[in-house]
Symmetry: C2
Subunit: 903 residues, 2 copies
């Protein structure tokens, strides 16, 4: 182990912005700002390595740490000219977490460390503001007893109120007694008394005195922050964000500055550009005479930084530009300096203490998808960043927001408006109201769409926010917890909807005279901030109207080498995907085509036949339907390849399971119920996933393959005669051996030749296979001798490579993710070390016998950005994904190429 | 293409025994014998290449063939001094198939080719035997019309009588009219008339004249033999024996010699050693005045070659040694010459034509397992062959017969004897009577054990013979079709059981006054040839009493490097396997231990508990049982390693499915039926094979692993304290990731340490894993960092690598084997190219991180000889198989080593 402590402040620092792994994001940037000469309250950062060590040794610090803290403390005292614990000139600290990657609100913070009976008088003298000092003291007691004395010791009650809530109730009581509406209306004596009450309450509830030793407070705070790395909230957040547990957090111990020392003090947060739109305007909120937590918590309505960005809720309040123009100019200068230095939009925190501006934090700002796209394009055109950087600046997932549906404006015009709030996350959403995060999660698990409605959200609500369609809060501004988190996920969100009157206990809310109960439906326009009654229809997104998006996607297309196709079974899906930029169809499933009411009967007749002739008769009825389907799709995809998969699911999926439907079927088909039951039983499978399906159906019932090949080829021939360019690729599923494919290809080619002869045209068609059985990857060299293309079906390949049934894995997969036995759900992001190895092997072996083999992917991984980068790396020709994922795939493909280049 | 025709005869030949691929076994050996100076009727062989060409070109011969035939013919004419088709001195030919590997009776033969209206008088003059000539002529017409005119043209009727049966009925009619009991009682005029009738019948039934041109007959015969390679029987035999369709057959055109030219003529088949016991005695059968087909068909009772080998059925008949002592001596000389030359037991065919001995065939003789073992050991001790050769001479599967059960002799003594026949295949068997091969197959498919009872078997019956437990025929000798085929498979078989009176039409048989119907039970002692009424209990085999076996197995153990363990879950299985030579337990399943009536309740209580505490309480009840089980097994396996697998099957397997049993369970457990139903539903899985089982149970319910580890370790500790040497290997199933194994290993090690501390002893234990998930093989390098041993579970690995559910594959696997999409059932013999690749990869990667990793296999492939050779090749340390397969595995392991050395 090297150095544990890095000092910063006074225009110099031991660390820098490149040391995020050791110092965490916050610590590294405090160091960097200090080096840049920006005023930062002095302090020091304890490294993440200490956290790792602390966790491994069950709460012991590495030897030598205490000495390093001591000397860092001395250096801070020297720079600030005050002394920790000193009765005359006391130094106070904040203690904050700071991981490599920002985890907003997930870990603990303690402020005002160093306030004791002994230092109170000194601070009062120094600040000449007794009220302020006792206010700081009561905050310290609240935070410390909650974070250090209760949570960090694991004595937090599972149900009922924790110490923080009990103390807050004491304060409410005091306010009621004194007739105070607002915290600020409590006077010095009130607060002094409150501190007394608080300390007694802490002793009574927790059985321990609130510590009056500054060093005890300091080490208690440091330990509590480290412990909070393994708190429930942090763990749950890490799982969602895929942050490794090994990273650990750093701890920043920093001189306190106070935005609540009176009307010359203030505190705020700001973005160097608008994080919701990407516009190049300085955007932020602040409160006069407040501490930072007051802004974030959304208790008071924050003021805008400048005139230009006032919102509906802040338009009546003066901006910083208006009340402290000098300080605003200083801040605006720092804004420019930081953006130029970091070459990206910054999210900054500042405090003004009695007219002096301090920067408490800078970090690359979160932004929603639309803003990310606009900033990337703008910054590139401002020549700050290159095109490659611009492309890498937008996470492909962020495009999802631009592709999000919107409430249909026509319906919206006449909808019943319930309330308005701040548009914190764009897009439209509709769903049923729930009032708790747990309900949001459980209702969603039941397949319902819900909107989480809260007074304000806290990190405790993260799982429910993630599950919900959208989030609606009564309080909070654009930088509140709800807004930050929703923006990170590109989720529809409205905050500060002050008209809501929420009664969680009775699971209802009142809004402008209406009463809505749990389960009632509402709709949100997150782009405008409007809440509507009922379910309004959503319109698909139309990103084409967004110029920035169009520019960026064009750059992406120029950068990428990986093709992007779509999975589409209908002309309308195909149309939409083509509009989104799909370069062909990578997977057209044919089984859905058999479920139409007029078709299912013929399908069932086929299944119930015991002779080839009977099956053929039934298939003849299906042929015209299939042909028509293919004509529709080929027309839409004119000039582009269309990969059509032959029948895949086991036949029992086409028969009804319950007796009622079976009776109906018997009646309609004029056969006995018994005959149907016999067939259903005969087709029953223990493990249908590994049963009689895919090409195995085609081997036992070649007439099915024959009919499908005929439908495809006849559709193609008819269109080609009309001058339409059609490129069908016929794909045989579930191939495990070369011989299976030879068997099926022979049938397809025979039919194709016959049909082309009949129509007198040639079709440029090919026959290939899904690679979804592990054996197919292993013997890909043999299979490629027959297959003209491969398409990796990584859904099934993942099931078989892991031995996980997707239908059943819900019983253990949560435990696996919880225990980090799996780093992520392998059905969402490809498991590179296992399944990915098989994919890479399959491509290598396939191309060993057919060097120009065309290779794609059509599992759900084809729409997952990280998996798409993988597909690029292993040399695929294209990915295929659902229509809505096509733009995301285009950007991810570009990203794959750029990351490869930069290696 | 090279040469199509190879001449042999007159003490020389163009081919030799090494040319089996080109000339087939028969042709190559005829050439070899000719080169050895043994009298062989001259002729020529048309190569297998011509067959391949003939099949590919849909029945066309390669150009140049006719010329080559012409010149070979001229050469034969020169050696024999007679001329094909010549009216005065006609040459007659036999036309016989001959593939690389013997396929007895599976293809066609035509004799007496060259007899026409024009050549009949010349042959009569030459033989001075008009009756013989017309007998030969009626045989030609029968065979030719059947084989060439009907079968080869595909005009054989699907049902009802073919031309052969219709001609045979004409002959019976004639015999009845003339009062002839026997064919030989028909005189010249009768036969002459019969030939006339035959020709008319052929014309009437087939619409074509019987050809009267010798060359038309010759080419017709050659074509028919080639076509018979793709006949139904041949295809079905090839599938069973794994003979590739591409090989094709050669055709042997050979001068006819006649064993039916009077009392100085005879024909016979013989083995240079006894093929049923391996004894070094000349063993065979012959008939005076007969053609070869008469011996094989079993129509007349054959005579023994010598006094020493007379059987119950031939003891009243004179032997060849007695009636033709000179010729017997000549034959015995040839026997010695051939065995010395070929260094193996030979199966020979000979014909004596008017006092002159001709050899028609020699080939390595089929033998049953006991004979194979004895011959190998004897020949090695006679210094004919080396030990390595001796080991390679016995196919491991053949040992199966020595390991076959026998009828319990105690029960046999008092059993109701129905009849006696010839002991053609040793061992005991019991089952239900069926009378047709199709029934044998379909009843067996339903899970019944059947004995196929026939008058005589024909190649058409092969599929039923394969399916049946045993075969019983009324006619035929030790070299009859039934005997040969059964011996090849080591199947229990009794032939020539002349007391049986079989009525297939009414599905019953009469035997010594008893009437037995289809489905009635009988038992066979194939070693003695006795048939009993009812089901007699079978005793396990006791090969230890067979000295030859013991010697051979000792040699095998000295030769092999691959270890052999057993799969055993009980002390008695373990005991038996140890007696069979098992060197440890490779798989002890623990789930069967939970099914005892006293245990299942605790198991169910565990499953129904919703809390860890409840589960732990129930598991505490199971602990003493498990511990007792392990103590029993450890004691039996003292000094040897015992691999114990933790719980593997999904929990729903322990709950009853039907409501009746559920009600019972509810009552016994004192809970509601609903509670049980809820749990059954909750545990239901769509694909249980890929569901919540194996280590996934241990991850979600660590208390199960904990209990099992405790039971194992406590059992081990208690025994070690008593001085018993115990080596437990704890095996975690269904591992797919390193993290799963770490999770489970941690639990096991914790418990183990605790238990050892409690008992104050150290146990030499290890923790390893099954490799049965494709991902485990792929990431074996990671897993081996944690696993101390690997055991390949190739049953599941095959299921997942192919995506085949063993439970459901019955719906398509038969089609796959039929269409040769798969060369064999991959659950029986390991699929080397697919699953085998994963195994090899797993071993390589595993040893890359843990060079001394112990590797075994415990799937059913561990008892399959070809798979065992594979296991040796890929460097496994041991195979593990069911107790009865242990000796087979030992020999197969030796074979693997020897084959590797010889490469």
């Amino acid at each position: 182990m090297g150095k544990y402590i890095y000092f910063f402040g006074g225009g110099e620092a031991e660390g820098n912005a490149g040391m995020k792994n050791e110092l965490g994001g916050k610590g590294a940037n405090l160091a960097e700002m200090s080096n840049l000469g920006i005023a930062v309250p002095p302090g020091f950062t304890i490294t993440t390595e200490v956290c790792a060590c602390y966790m491994k040794s069950n709460g012991k610090y590495p030897s030598g740490l205490r000495e390093e803290v001591k000397s860092a403390l001395a250096r801070v005292e020297k720079v600030t000219g005050s002394k920790f614990g000193h009765p005359d000139n006391p130094l106070l600290f904040s203690i904050r977490s700071g991981a490599r990657q920002s985890m907003p609100g997930m870990m603990e913070t303690v402020l005002n460390i160093g306030l004791t009976e002994k230092t109170l008088p000194g601070l009062i003298r120094k600040s000449s503001n007794e009220r302020f000092v006792y206010d700081a003291y009561r905050r310290l007691i609240t935070m410390y007893s909650d974070v250090v004395m209760e949570k960090a010791t694991g004595t937090e009650p599972a149900e009922g109120e924790g110490i923080r809530q009990q103390l807050e109730r004491e304060m409410e009581k005091m306010k009621r007694q004194r007739g105070a509406k607002d915290d600020t209306q409590l006077d010095t004596n009130n607060l002094k008394r409150l501190c007394q009450i608080f300390k007694e309450k802490v002793k009574a509830v927790l059985g321990k005195e609130f510590p009056d030793d500054p060093f005890e407070q300091l080490w208690g705070g440091i330990g509590a922050v480290f412990k909070s790395w393994n708190g429930r909230r942090a763990i749950s957040y890490r799982r969602i964000e895929n942050i490794p547990a090994e990273w650990g957090t750093a701890v920043n111990v920093q001189t306190m500055v106070f935005g609540n020392m009176g009307s010359g003090s203030a505190t705020g947060v700001a973005f160097t550009r608008n994080p919701a739109t990407g516009e190049r305007q300085f955007y932020g909120e602040f409160l006069v005479n407040a501490q930072g937590e007051d802004v974030v918590a959304g208790i008071r309505t924050p003021q805008s930084l400048n005139r230009a960005t006032k919102t509906r809720t802040s338009e009546h309040l003066p901006s910083l530009e208006e009340i402290m123009p000098d300080l605003y100019r200083q801040l605006d200068d720092i804004r420019g300096k930081l953006e130029a230095h970091y070459r990206d939009m910054q999210d900054i925190e500042f405090t003004i203490q009695e007219g002096k501006l301090y920067m408490l934090q800078t970090r690359t700002g979160k932004r929603n998808g639309a803003a990310a796209v606009r900033m990337a394009v703008d910054m590139c055109e401002e020549a700050n960043i290159s095109r490659e950087e611009a492309l890498l600046r937008v996470r492909p997932e962020q495009l999802d927001e631009l592709l999000h549906p919107m409430i249909n404006p026509k319906e919206e015009a006449s909808a019943v408006k319930l309330a308005e709030g701040l548009p914190a996350g764009p897009g439209g959403a509709q769903g049923q109201i729930v009032f708790t995060a747990d309900d949001a999660e459980s209702w969603t698990a039941e397949g319902k769409k819900v909107i989480l409605v809260r007074n304000e959200t806290s990190p405790e609500d993260v799982h429910g926010m993630h599950a919900a369609q959208a989030i609606l809060t009564a309080t909070g501004g654009m930088t509140s917890h709800a807004a930050l988190v929703a923006r990170g996920w590109g989720k529809c969100c409205i905050v500060g909807c002050t008209d809501l009157n929420i009664d969680v206990a009775n699971r209802q809310l009142k809004v402008n005279g209406e009463v809505l109960k749990e389960g009632d439906r509402i709709s949100l326009n997150g782009t405008r901030g409007t809440v509507y009654k009922g379910s309004l229809p959503l319109l698909p997104a139309d990103p084409q109207r967004n110029l920035y998006y169009k520019v960026l996607m064009q750059w992406a297309d120029e950068a990428r080498t990986l093709g992007v196709r779509t999975n589409a079974d209908t002309p309308s899906d195909a149309r939409m995907a083509r509009d989104f930029g799909a370069e062909g169809i990578g997977l057209c499933r044919t089984e859905h085509m058999f479920f139409g009411p007029d078709r299912i009967m013929a399908m069932r007749e086929m299944i119930l036949s015991d002779t080839e002739e009977g099956r053929r008769r039934a298939l003849d009825k299906l042929l015209p339907y299939q042909k028509k389907d293919f004509i529709g799709i080929f027309e839409v995809m004119e000039g582009l390849p269309v990969t059509i998969r032959t029948l895949d699911p086991p036949l029992h999926e086409f028969l009804p399971r319950d007796e009622v439907s079976q009776k109906e079927m018997a009646k309609e088909m004029g056969i006995s119920l018994d005959a149907i039951k016999v067939k259903v039983n005969a087709l029953h499978e223990i493990n249908p996933m590994l049963g009689h399906r895919g090409c195995r159906l085609g081997v036992t019932y070649p007439e099915i393959t024959r009919m499908q090949a005929r439908a495809i080829m006849e559709a193609a021939c008819e269109l080609i005669k009309k001058g339409v360019r059609v490129y069908p690729e016929i794909m045989i599923p579930l191939i495990g051996t070369r011989e299976e494919l030879s068997n099926q290809k022979k049938i397809v080619v025979e039919v194709a030749e016959e049909v082309m002869k009949k129509y007198g045209v040639r079709v440029n068609y090919s026959v290939g296979t899904m690679i979804e059985i592990p054996r197919a990857s292993i013997t890909a060299n043999e299979i490629a001798e027959v297959a003209e293309f491969f398409s990796f079906g990584t859904n099934d390949l993942t099931q078989m490579t892991f031995g996980f049934s997707r239908d059943d894995a819900g019983k253990f997969l949560p435990d696996y993710l919880e225990n980090r036995i799996l780093p992520q759900d392998p059905f969402q992001t490809i498991d590179e070390r296992g399944v990915g190895e098989l994919v890479a092997l399959g491509i290598k072996r396939g191309r060993s016998t057919r060097p120009k083999l065309k290779v794609g992917i059509c599992g759900e991984h084809g729409g997952d950005p990280r998996s798409i980068e993988f597909c690029h790396r292993v040399g695929m020709d294209y990915v295929s994904c659902s229509p809505y994922r096509v733009p995301i795939a285009r950007l991810a493909a570009a990203r794959g190429k750029l990351l490869e280049k930069s290696e």
